[in-house]
């Protein structure tokens, strides 16, 4: 390598004017600095929550409900259990409709309704979460009262467009030849989709669902007027229910130190769960 390049005639060094060289260096430095500024908040937030919240994450945090206002102690068991229930219920709606929507967009591109579904799914993706909370309030809470189910439906609405988008994208990655092979064996189209295309795309769909879950797990705004919150552990989906983001919101805006402490620990737990889910989803999609 070195021998070869030395055999070449010496290349004249490009002569850069000082102005061009300076501009190049300054812009490079600014770009590096900007990147530090962009990444800094994440590190600062994480460090702050670790420092403030880790101490409060004891056994009591996971096994008790919040203490009455003004008293010390207590935990966020009600929120942890509530979040799990609502995410599970939201997944039924979000995954059922989302995956079907993705299959519809990818496998029936000539259907006359296809452009409408595609456009509305994109539109739904951009609608603010709090507006979905208002919608779920008017559709459910107005008639049946605050409930975990109403919260889950609001979260499910938010999941749908994310799942649709990722499902459609991974289904389109499955080669057409695979479908043709299935059809030429005499399989009906629906069996080709269910038995060949979906299994081939399963990894990507799971990744999309996990990303959607990570996204809605942190939403408090649509739960304010639907799940409403509950200081006790509640397993009845027709009753008000708490969730981690709700408790963080209430605690952070509360005047009591104890509630603030629980909110910080809750925030630490929430971002640890969300980071783990998103990293796992990325790792899974990369391994594929």
């Amino acid at each position: 390598m070195t021998a070869r390049s030395s055999a070449l005639p010496a290349r004249p060094r490009p002569r850069l004017s000082p102005a061009r060289r300076a501009r190049n260096l300054i812009m490079g430095a600014l770009i590096g600095l900007s990147t530090v500024i962009v990444v800094a908040p994440l590190i600062l937030i994480f460090a702050y929550l670790l420092r403030e919240g880790l101490g409060a994450m004891n056994l009591e945090f996971f096994t008790r409900t919040p203490a009455p206002e003004g008293e010390t102690g207590g935990g966020l068991l009600n929120a942890i259990v509530g979040s799990l229930q609502m995410l599970l219920m939201a997944s039924v709606l979000g995954v059922g409709v989302g995956v079907a929507g993705g299959i519809f967009l990818a496998e029936y591109p000539r259907h006359p309704l296809m452009p409408t579904v595609r456009m509305l799914s994109d539109v739904l993706a951009g609608i603010p979460a709090i507006v979905m909370g208002l919608v779920a309030y008017g559709l459910i809470v107005l008639y049946f009262g605050f409930s975990g189910l109403a919260g889950a439906i609001a979260l499910g609405f938010l999941m749908i467009p994310i799942v649709v988008r990722t499902t459609e994208e991974v289904l389109k990655l499955v080669p057409v030849t695979v479908r043709e092979a299935g059809l030429s064996l005499g399989l009906p189209q629906w069996l080709v989709i269910l038995r060949i295309v979906l299994p081939a795309a399963a990894g990507g769909i799971v990744t999309g669902v996990m990303l959607a879950l990570a996204r809605v797990a942190g939403e408090a705004a649509p739960l304010l007027f639907t799940a409403f919150g509950n200081p006790l552990v509640n397993l009845d989906p027709t009753k008000p229910m708490s969730a981690l983001p709700l408790e963080i919101y209430r605690g952070a805006t509360s005047a009591y130190d104890e509630n603030q402490r629980l909110a910080k620990a809750g925030a630490l737990l929430l971002i640890l769960i969300i980071f783990a889910t998103s990293l796992l989803a990325r790792w899974a999609s990369r391994r594929r």
């Binding site: 962009v38 409709v97 799914s121 309030y137 609405f157 797990a217 929430l270």
Partner: protein
């Protein structure tokens, strides 16, 4: 032994045709839920905000008084608050986001580019309430200390009293806009700051993807002519990626318009006219979060939902513009 091929009209083919139709019907029924959610949203928001819109007409969005006690509701201050916070956050975040995207795509070696890319994506995964909590407990006290320092100076106090007269008369001047009107750090500036951080990752990841799509020979051609790295970026890469970046910026604007709790927690929740960069304000989303639960009176509640309806149409509009921009300006070869 060889059997003749079954004709298409055999019972089995008919069966598979029917089962295909059943499956397609099932998929279509589930996919129609998407259409249903949209229709129900429009219907629900429209029905609930009808009393307010009938009472005030479309001037609901342009009138300045918001007073639950006297039953007067005009959302101009929230509309302005929403636009000001979102656009200011956009202006601050776009250069930073594009720069970080350039760093990941053009400058950083692979061992650094991947972790930095991950970190930026994790920034997008941090929930709104956690940003709000951090801003409230960490950034607000810092701003608050600065504001108290400002008031500690007698000369500044004089400026403040002069500005207060202007503010009380329902106006503000450019000079008074930068005079603090609060002591606790919460207000318009903090809301803009936290929104900036929150929308950074959306623009950054779109910009990074678009920059990576710029064909390699565009770079090589310019390097071969002796261009510096910055010249390649500013003359070959950014013009080529412009449309995609602009689309990402508009999508980030959509996020900023609808961002709720982080803003609601730090903006100070004032429905008066925006007096000072450091004073309280409110956005459409923050008012929904702060007032919907307490709004007992029919007209008040309906007005809050009308804010939601406005926000709904604003986000639909932004979404359409983003898609149009991306479709119009994208050079051939991308997508």
């Amino acid at each position: 032994m060889s059997e003749p091929l079954r004709p298409r009209s055999s019972p089995r083919a008919a069966l598979s045709g029917r089962s295909d139709r059943t499956f397609q019907g099932l998929i279509l029924a589930l996919a129609s839920v998407i259409v249903l959610v949209f229709v129900l949203s429009v219907y629900q928001l429209g029905r609930e905000s009808w009393p307010a819109l009938r009472e005030f007409g479309l001037s609901f969005y342009t009138e300045r008084t918001w007073n639950p006690v006297t039953g007067e509701f005009g959302a101009a201050q929230m509309v302005i608050g929403t636009l000001v916070t979102s656009l200011a956050a956009l202006v601050l975040s776009v250069p930073l986001a594009v720069a970080s995207a350039l760093f990941v795509a053009e400058y950083a070696p692979k061992w650094l580019a991947n972790p930095v890319g991950y970190l930026i994506e994790l920034l997008a995964a941090v929930p709104s309430v956690v940003y709000g909590l951090w801003a409230l407990f960490v950034i607000a006290p810092i701003l608050g200390r600065w504001q108290q320092g400002f008031f500690a100076d007698p000369a500044n106090l004089e400026v403040y009293t002069r500005c207060q007269d202007i503010w009380n008369s329902g106006q503000t001047t450019l000079q008074c806009f930068f005079v603090p009107s609060a002591f606790d750090g919460r207000g318009l500036a903090l809301a803009i700051l936290i929104l900036t951080v929150m929308i950074l990752p959306y623009t950054a990841s779109v910009a990074r993807d678009v920059i990576r799509l710029v064909p390699q020979d565009q770079r090589e051609a310019m390097y071969a002519l002796g261009a510096t790295k910055w010249e390649v970026i500013s003359r070959a890469i950014l013009p080529y990626a412009r449309a995609g970046i602009l689309g990402g910026v508009i999508l980030a604007l959509g996020r900023a318009l609808g961002e709720t709790l982080a803003v609601a927690m730090v903006i100070g929740d004032s429905q008066d006219i925006i007096k000072s960069l450091w004073g309280g304000a409110s956005t459409m989303a923050s008012v929904i979060a702060n007032q919907f639960g307490d709004a007992q009176e029919r007209l008040h509640r309906s007005s809050v939902v009308a804010l939601g309806l406005g926000l709904f149409f604003l986000s639909v509009l932004v979404n359409f513009i983003a898609r149009m921009v991306i479709a119009r300006l994208t050079p051939k070869g991308i997508q």
